[in-house]
């Protein structure tokens, strides 16, 4: 089949926030499914993909590429999002692109008018936060360190209590979440056009920090098939 006869259809997932987000599109968005799930992305994601496929009048056979938000964010959510995307990519032999969710959220917020140097802030566990500035790796900020780290920049607060960063930050956060599907899709489309595909099997979330009390990343350790 020629590419003209079968246009690209991108399936994108993001589970880094308290929402489970599924979208389908190519040049524009065709279907979006968004649910408030807190930490129960696993019970919703496949159902949402089915829902989005129906809305777009497509089946999984029509999907030509996959995109997944790699966080940082909810560990549980990201495990579900990445495990799902990696498995579909493997089982259906589809290219997979991982996009840092923070980058997509920033792009969505700036498209909505937020300043380019704004700080994106997300909860990291119960007390800490992830903070990202443009063109820098996200960092983990301990309680009390947030206002210093943000300085006099505008903050884009995702899932952060309004009492901590104020109403403006929350409003930018809501706009960023609204524009996330479009932003994720356009970043991914650029990557796919450039042939910038990830190794689906090896892909891991953007963790930012190692688990407490651990000196070495699990991902660094190789494996050999132990036949039992």
């Amino acid at each position: 089949m020629t590419p003209a006869a079968r246009p690209d259809l991108i399936l994108a997932l993001d589970t880094s926030t308290r929402r489970s987000l599924v979208m389908l599109g190519h040049d524009s968005l065709l279907a979006v499914s968004r649910r408030e799930v807190r930490h129960r992305h696993g019970s919703h994601l496949l159902e949402q993909i089915d829902e989005a496929l129906v809305e777009a009048g497509a089946t999984l056979d029509d999907v030509t590429a996959l995109v997944v938000g790699t966080g940082p964010g909810s560990f549980t959510g990201l495990r579900v999002g990445l495990a799902t995307a990696k498995t579909i990519a493997y089982a259906r032999r589809l290219p997979l692109v991982g996009v840092m969710s923070l980058d997509a959220l920033r792009r969505a917020a700036t498209s909505a008018g937020a300043p380019g140097d704004a700080a994106v802030v997300l909860p990291a566990g119960a007390h800490d936060h992830y903070l990202a500035l443009p063109a820098e790796d996200p960092v983990l900020v301990a309680p009390g360190g947030l206002s210093d780290a943000i300085g006099d920049r505008v903050a884009i607060a995702i899932d952060v209590d309004e009492a901590i960063l104020g109403a403006d930050a929350a409003r930018w956060g809501a706009l960023a979440l609204d524009g996330l599907p479009q932003a994720l899709l356009s970043i991914a489309r650029d990557r796919l056009d450039d042939g910038d595909i990830d190794d689906a099997a090896a892909m891991t979330p953007a963790y930012v920090a190692l688990p407490r009390g651990v000196a070495r990343a699990a991902e660094e350790l190789g494996w050999s098939p132990d036949l039992r």
């Binding site: 496949l46 493997y90 089982a91 891991t204 000196a215």
Partner: protein, 355 residues
Amino acid sequence: MSSGRILAVESSCDETAVAVVEGGRRIVTSVVASQVQLHSATGGIVPEVAARAHLRWMIPVLDEARERAGIGDWSELDAVAVTEGPGLAGSLLVGITMAKTLAWSVGLPLVPVNHLEGHIYAAWLLDPDEDERPAPQFPLVALVVSGGHTFIVEMADHLSYRLLGQTVDDAAGEAFDKVGRLLGLSYPGGPAIMQAATGATAHDRRFPRAWMGDSYDFSFSGLKTAARHAVGEALGLPPNARDLDGADLPEAEVAELAWAFQESVVDVLATKTLRAARELGARTIIMGGGVAANGVLRDRIAEGARGLGVPLVVPRPGLCTDNAAMIGAAGYLRYHAGTRADRALDARPSLKLAV
């Protein structure tokens, strides 16, 4: 056409495993990516580390199993089976997500399996080149003993479980790990203690046994305390001293303590299992779980089983510890019994086998 082939996924603790099993018994391939190396650095399992490793290695393990089983098309399989619990929530979630996404995206039925029944069904497994052997006969008594579980069940038939007794505190394997650490031995404690105990010659130490009346229940916390006191005493420290380091003990002393500890655990496990088999008229005794790989325990129960005239089935060590082939064996029966899960399947970290 049915191939009788089940692809099984197991990720409840610290082993990422995928297997293909035919007809519920014959292993086509069984691949495990072990995290022992990872957890020996921290002296035990850190759940977040385990979950991250599962996510990193799940697809390479699946691909290895697919390739070794020679699966060209997913439709060569009857179903995908997966451990739904019990286990670590984050670890279970990764295997479940992979299994259900695979089943969903290639159109195969999804079969949820209890990890504990998997340990029992390991007794049905045949290696790829192994001769046929009769299946275990019912009614049977099964002892499952691992780092997370210690219990005895009776099975009157397939997939039917009556709990006879279980640990009221630590699992036996957990006690091995803790006492192993106390004795300055490496992680995991089971194999290290068994190895150290072979050096014992005096055999004059005795640790207590918790018989729990005439129930089939177990308790290992008192034994752990006794081991702690014995180590403190051997180090010449006052009672209740903290920060014991068995690495300072002479090797011969470690050997005697390891032997006495193992003897106490083995004595209780073997005695109760054999009593259950005798009282219930079992036609088979099954052992499963990582601690079942302990040769001293296996020999003790084998000796008693011979005395009773009841066959004992203990899977080889690689099938006693966590693996996916056992999930494939149990999954085959569940599949034919009509057990199915849908795409909303979630982890059940505290799932029970029976009440």
